[in-house]
Symmetry: C2
């Protein structure tokens, strides 16, 4: 797919992946409504398969491959949710997956990927080593590389979370997501642009990894250099494809402090009894930072994932 | 209410409290099904108002009071979920609540009760001090005492959780709950007895607080002496009313070790991304302890609550 997905492409993605993903619930919480002054609708991708929205994009990418190419298998490099998503999407399609992971990845994440039947190739924990190792794997196996976000099939898959949210909740004023590489944000922005362009799409981003904010405000793609944040799903740089969509269809990016992320995460855990990972708390933290702006509005917030190391909680 | 509630009484309770409680969702998890060998249906009272099923019984008790008596207000002694439940049930009915709490109760629990507009009376952390202080409060105010479990109106309220579960999931083989004072277990057993007596009702209980198991196996009410368990909602003794129902209508009580409770709790947090308190994990721990017994069965499990101190997690 070589051009920005159109509405029909997004709708086909939704139909294509439906049998392989959960239609996740939209939860509300009167306590958090009262506390924020807005009416909040949380789309719970933390309950998605593999515990994150990444399952949508990876599934769409795998299912979009021509049959001959699919049989050669798929590959990616990731230490996070995308690794598990590609591994599981491959497994349910009966094809092989090769996942390049840094030696520093937690054992539990490696075990999860192995549990889905993927082959794991360890490498040094640098982007260069990851890309080189991946290139070798692809050269040796003929596997198809699935980029975690800078891929229109992946972006179309991520768009389906907001499509479900808009089907379920009428007349939202705002939809908020976190932004890391921008797959979820750009997919959300596209879906809103086609289906309900009066809705504002606003992202939250950690100040310690604010390359998307810098890119958005400067109009030039700024890479993420030495990012430092508890929101470990948001360390990556935007890609050309995600940035192209974001600069055109996203209304704003709000930066938040680490303490704001932890506080928002704790509020969700305590009030909603729902486990979200730090990255998921970033858009809610952004809303709490700017309460007046969202007062009385109907706001959809996408909880991007729920994979946390219970041995390393920030509380 | 001076005799064991009949079916019509349970149905009236369900109707009476419906506007004041959440109809909580029933969640499933393929990962935990695979791991346990059973088909599990989790009734999520951790998402209930005040974060626990206690809201059901307290609400039914308050709403069942004759109008003149209601206006004098209600009182109870509790350091846990029942305190918040009585406070909130009183608040939504526009009446006063007095809650006797031990000095040792966490500040956050006291704050929650105050937040619902109740008056908090502190006392020494002994059962005797609690009962004496409560008696003084009742004498001074004329408030009506709502016992946390040994009260047929409370038991009828707790029964409604299983009634909803059975409405939603057909042909369950087993329903499991934790047992502390026995309000939830006896209510569940009654609902099952009237509506689907082929379903087995089985409780989980911490070995460190196994007074219900001792009472159940000996046929005599054995008090809970020096209970010691992480499941802080299950420290209390059965009452005469709850025991009378439990000995007649409950099939079994399974005792579990502390490590089993923690492991079951962690599994639910990690796999389901749902926060349950240790007491909630006890019946699931019992099922995991005796997998063969439940293999292939459709098992409903009531997650009794989700109020945990995030600063004191056992992980």
């Amino acid at each position: 797919m070589h051009s920005i997905p159109n509405l029909s492409t997004l709708q086909q993605a939704a139909q294509r992946i439906a049998p392989f993903i959960h239609r996740t619930p939209v939860l509300t919480c009167r306590g958090l409504d009262a506390l924020s002054g807005a009416r909040l609708f949380f789309k719970c991708e933390n309950f998605q398969k593999v515990g994150a929205f990444k399952m949508r994009g990876a599934t769409n990418a795998v299912l979009s491959l021509p049959e001959a190419e699919k049989q050669k298998g798929v590959a990616t490099h990731s230490s996070g949710n995308h690794a598990q998503a590609v591994a599981l999407a491959a497994k349910v399609n009966g094809i092989q997956a090769w996942i390049v992971m840094p030696e520093t990845a937690p054992a539990v994440k490696k075990a999860a990927v192995l549990g889905y039947g993927a082959e794991v190739i360890m490498c040094k924990p640098t982007l260069q080593a990851r890309e080189e190792t991946l290139a070798q794997v692809v050269a040796q196996t003929g596997a198809h590389f699935i980029h975690p976000y800078n891929d229109y099939r992946v972006i179309a898959g991520q768009a389906t979370a907001s499509m479900e949210l808009m089907e379920e909740v009428n007349e939202l004023d705002v939809i908020m997501t976190p932004v890391g590489g921008g797959g979820l944000l750009s997919g959300t922005a596209l879906a809103v642009h086609y289906l309900a362009p009066h809705i504002s799409v606003i992202a939250g981003e950690p100040r310690g990894a604010d390359d998307a904010w810098q890119s958005f405000t400067s109009g030039k793609l700024v890479p993420s250099l030495k990012p430092n944040t508890i929101a470990d799903g948001l360390l990556t740089s935007l890609g050309e494809k995600t940035f192209g969509i974001i600069r055109q269809y996203v209304q704003d990016i709000i930066r938040v402090e680490e303490e704001e992320i932890k506080a928002a995460m704790r509020l969700v855990w305590e009030r909603m009894k729902v486990i979200i990972e730090p990255s998921s708390a970033v858009p809610f933290a952004a809303l709490l930072q700017q309460k007046q702006r969202f007062a009385g509005k109907k706001v959809g917030i996408i909880f991007s994932g729920g994979n946390v190391d219970l041995g390393k909680l920030p509380f």
